[in-house]
Symmetry: C2
Subunit: 320 residues, 2 copies
DNA sequence: GTGAAAGCGCTAACAT
DNA sequence: ATGTTAGCGCTTTCAC
């Protein structure tokens, strides 16, 4: 080495340790020369915390998921955290397998983006002091922390907006029946509509996927009682629906058929789509997530954070 | 424990180890009960390999980058590798900082998606036996492994196609001047055009970003000598250009103005855009990358893999 | 402020 | 097939 003990080296690399400036410089210089880097694996082993955040992403095709991971990763990197990521392409009911793997790496916390884990595993995480944050997915169980957009308020506002625009024959394009997020949007939308004396919206499944949404749109627009407005459970499906309406049915979107989405993904504001939607404030949600992640982990409270977005009134629901 | 030694436990969790089925079962049962998981950090420490692949992603906004990470992550997960990821949002000239961090975690290999590292760092990685794969970015230096789409062949085919369609007054929208990928596309395009007796294409910078592309498109379409076809260095910019042409200038895309891109991202085939482009076969590239990653790492050859795509002739360059 | 020694949880020889 | 021992690279008491 360069004249000092192992411990001294350790201290030289630890920000607030008691080392004389002189020895630290000497160590750092030597390290530079040897191109030595402290082994974070070993450090994690002895410290018990790895500085790694585990992320499981449910549906990587969905732009709102990739937006979430982008928002999270830049913030975490800034906070000196590292992220170990899994994408579970298949719509597995549960991301347990991935979480198991993540746990073996002793991640400090877990973020699940649009993914679920079993109750038993969630409980085990909580017991081991690993905070689990459900991002954009209402947890099945009470345990854990949940950060979501304002599904209920948003869907209500969309419904209100569509009625105010004069649409009367509404439809709702759902994800799956199971997903809580979807349930919330569906129920809030339907409730508002029916409580205003209108018949319950027609409902169809789009599976949060482009193909599914296109098929659903074709079906919906071919019905004898064709809806005059469709609220899609997310923007990604709304864009597909819009294209089917426009290019396959020759429908004038807005005037003849109102279309609204949810999330306000980047493409929604592109002039080609100009989609009315309710924003899913990913950045603010990511801020919240970080706030929680960076707190001391002893307070293992369970909480549900709902971040409000806002209605984006655009051309796809303009009747004139 | 459950009656056995530490080593026995280790063997029970190692696939091809010499343990009697009986003891393994006993160990696994006990592990289940104690909800014990082998600590991969410790294992990595002693084994010298972590099973972690480090990924740095240059421009997370670019759909072709997110497509790449999606393709890679699903494959790596299937191969039992884990991925530690960084996104370097800012167009830093170099991703060295992130790579340094990754190195501290003793990643087995590095994949840089549209990101660069300094020559010295690259050399150091090679010296330490860590393969560095440049995905979708031609390395500045010869060292390391490079997997790219067929920039040169693709740009040539685009040029050929545009000329055959009867466009004569061409323009090229570039990323940065520095980027090798961009250089290759630009040079191949320009060379083909001029070698066919036409003036060199007008050139403008779009910076691989939507805003930049829109500004560039406005500038280009306002010139006295307005081009009749624009080849954009990637689809993301091409879509922006198309929207500016259509919605701000009222130009009929295809008939009045040909637009071509590069990558064949998902949106390119959407009917709203119907963009002619040259495909960037991310899946095949990811396959190649995995093939290399999973080989024994002693063969530290440097290689450049070029994966051919194909021309996607769509409406944005149809004149009739 | 610095060094010596112990130990984090695991695997890899070597014995048995 | 199983147990024993050593050691991976670090942090952390505890002396000095």
């Amino acid at each position: 080495m360069a004249g000092v003990s192992q411990a001294a080296v350790s201290r030289a690399f630890t920000p607030g340790a008691s080392v004389s400036a002189e020895t630290r410089d000497r160590v750092l210089a030597a390290a530079q020369k040897l191109s030595y880097r402290p082994n974070l694996l070993a450090r994690s082993l002895v410290m018990g915390r790895s500085g790694i955040i585990g992320i499981v992403m449910g549906n990587p095709k969905n732009p709102s998921c990739t937006a979430a991971i982008e928002a999270l990763s830049t913030r975490l990197a800034k906070a000196g955290k590292h992220i170990l990521i899994f994408t579970s392409e298949k719509d597995k009911a549960t991301a347990d397998v991935h979480v198991e793997d993540l746990l073996k790496y002793r991640v400090d916390s877990l973020v699940l983006i649009a993914a679920n884990i079993s109750t038993t595993l969630a409980d085990h995480c909580r017991a081991s002091g690993i905070p689990v944050i459900h991002f954009n997915r209402v947890g099945k169980n009470a345990s854990g922390i949940t950060i979501t957009g304002a599904n209920i308020a948003g869907a209500r506002q969309i419904a209100e907006h569509l009625l105010r625009q004069g649409y009367r024959n509404l439809a709702y394009m759902a994800n799956f029946r199971g997903a809580k997020t979807n349930r919330q949007r569906e129920v809030a939308f339907t409730t508002f509509v029916t409580s205003h004396g209108l018949p319950a919206p027609q409902c169809i499944l789009g599976h949060f996927q482009r193909d599914g949404a296109m098929a659903a749109a074709r079906e919906l627009l071919s019905r004898r009682r064709r809806p005059d407005a469709i609220f899609c459970a997310n923007d990604y499906m709304a864009l597909a629906t819009m294209e089917v309406a426009r290019f396959e049915f020759g429908i004038a979107v807005g005037r003849e058929l109102g279309i609204a989405g949810f999330d306000d993904i980047e493409q929604a504001s592109w002039p080609s789509f100009d989609l009315t939607t309710y924003s899913h404030p990913v950045d603010i949600m990511a801020d919240k997530a970080l706030e929680i992640l960076l707190q001391d982990p002893d307070a293992d409270r369970t909480m549900d954070v709902v971040v409000e977005g806002e209605l984006k009134f655009r051309g796809s629901t303009r009747r004139d």
